[in-house]
Amino acid sequence: MNRKEFLKLTSSGISLLPFLSLPIEGKETSPQPKTLVLIELKGGNDSLNTFIPYKEKLYYQLRPKLSVPADKIISLNGTLGLHPVLTEMKDIWNQGKLALFPGIGYEDPNRSHFRSIDIWDTASDEDEFLSEGWISEIFKANNIPEGLIAHGIIIGSDDEGPLFGRGMRNVVIQNIRKFLNDAKHSEEEEIGVLQKEIKKYNGINPSLSHILTIQKNLLISSIKLREKIKKPVQLKIKFPQNRSGKNFELAAQIIGSEVPIPVIKITLGGFDTHKNQKPKHEKLLKELSSSLASFEKAMKELGRWDDILVLSYSEFGRRVKENGSDGTDHGAAATHFALGGKVKGGIYGTFPDLNALHKGDLKYTTDYRSIYRTIVEDWWTFKNHGRIDIKDKIKLSFL
């Protein structure tokens, strides 16, 4: 963001400080926008095979086929280690910028994708039904400046998740290629197509025509928003050319354009590994790790490493005992991670006891909303929680 734009935003009278990185002491730099980069591991990541308690005998007993041999594991601290393909994450750990949160979950875990992701996205209890995303609620409770072009960018999915809510200005980018290539033209095309369909169905199916008209209105709002996001920058760093890599590359380019966007949500699919988990999960983890490495380098190239916070989440972990199809079924508590220039590396929380499983699943030791509270109060420095019930959740000191 250049000086002129920055002044324009701050002169609106509302404090933008929560969304800006404070300049480093002694350095003559203007504050830069901060971005929370959420990584949604869609389907329920098997974190037990990602962050591995490799000294636990039960890990090998309950996973005769799926467990990773101890000598292959990348040790972090003598008891917890990384899956062998996560070499790049070990580098970030060595820099002291990788934080791990074992045993993340909540009371009475739900094991359906549908309900459980709803719980995570709305910061609710198992038997509580909230309709808007937790970030949407937090932003609404804390007077977000009108000058912000968009609240969130959604990449890799059409589910706004934590950012879903009335009045939220989110940009959903499902087709990266389309978004990058001459955005304006293809969008006018999209509206044209809808207009044509509306006309076509007008006489023969007026109800469908009505739905398409509503859809057109949604599209017009979304296009107006997309147009305001400057053309994303070109980066020197190369990203892996798989789904994961392209998603992270786009996020990096958007961050590089210096338009203040508080949250970017990236969805990586394929983690619902019921069958033949070994090769599938390994591929996903490798793609994740190498994408994260490129992302880290890109942030450093842009001088923005200190301005970003990457955080993983998933609807649940997976069962400790492997199933009969060389895979794992829906579980409960899981280990998640955060990384970024301002992160204080380390392990925050207790790894669940494999000898004290709850219905065959890892029992949570830290409520997932502890992470949320830490972000709300320490990353954004917001005072208000709105309707989000996190005031009694113990914060983690990774920021």
Binding site: F114, D127, E160, H210, L218
Partner: protein, 440 residues
Amino acid sequence: MKFISLVLFFFYISGSIYSISYEEARHLLHRTGFGASEDEIQALIPLDYEKAVENLLNNTRTTAIGKKPNLNEKKKLREKLQIWWIEEMLDTPSPFTERMVLFWHNHFVSAMSKVPPKFMYKQNLLYRKNAFGNFAVLLEEITKDPAMILYLDLQSNKAEAPNENFARELFELFTLGEGKYSEEDIKQAAKAFTGYSIKHKTGEFHFNKNQHDISKKNCMGVSGRLIGEDIIKEALIKKRGMDVAKFITKKVWLEFVSNKINNKEIQRIAKVFHGSNFEIKILMKEILMAEDFRNPDNYGTMIKSPIELIVGTLRTLDSDVENTGTLISFSKRMGQDILNPPSVKGWEGKELWISTHSLAVRKQFLTRVTRGQEMKRKKQMMMMKVSSESPLNWEFTPKNKTKLLSLLLPIPSVFQPEEEDDDMDDFVHWALIDPAYQMK
């Protein structure tokens, strides 16, 4: 010899001409149920259209398959009752029954905002018992139903100060429609209904002689010392029977057939309904056999209600969400809080179901439902033979992709798939998000 083979050939063709097609079966099921699973469609295919309609009507139920909900605890009774009913919709072998219960719930409206859940439950059982029974009986029973009496303040309708609320709604919303009765008719009917009340704890109907106006009344040309029953039996069913039949037929038409009124057809069907002495099964058969219903131009021209979208999708994909309360929450967000309609007019529905917000919620629901592989719903397997796999588990082949579109969409998709779909989950997701899936 030639003649015989010609005759046999004719019978061969006519057999296949008259048996129901996949699209006809799907349309019939979509309009009378909640979505349509591959199993349900295949079950009808060996039959001809009329037999298929009769099959659906013969399999209707008068009782719920689910266990009675525990309405004795004080906590979260409303949610408990809503969950009980949605689970009935998810698991019943006769979705047509629940669609009809929903229809009566939206016709003879009562709501939890005013009525205790235990009486809403009783009313729900009444609707199911009479859903496909006799309308005249249902009408009489509803005037003695505790939920209705409380909702329309009938118990405060006393001789000294008659409360016209009930009589007005009875004529305007339940039986005749606006303009088909006079203000005097309402006053007289209100007098006839004085004394109708319930015992507060049990909800048992109680005719309070002390509060009843015994004077002579004249309502719609029927005179005498009329009581409530007489208004129903003599004035509405006997005297104005044809008007009542037309009113109900039109409502059923708008719910099941089309947004386009065909007065001639409605008149014809109303006559049959009236002639049968208000047998609902006969009405519904006429409705489903009507040309306007069967016409392929009519496929996919009505918008699914929130409940139809939610229950239909889960039944078709055979998915379990492990906490039915979330479905109630989604239905609320889409504008349909079951057992709690916003006013005595019920949900107007149709295009009003769709706004920028509700469309966003509907899409979020559909995206969530295809997020991953869920457990199968533990249905009462004895009741419903579930043999085929959820479409999410079908092998990802071009043939199955075509098959899936035929299963899910009542009309061709509006858009074409853009990206290369990774797997069946992605493709099903794309199909559900297409605007055509919002239709039935």
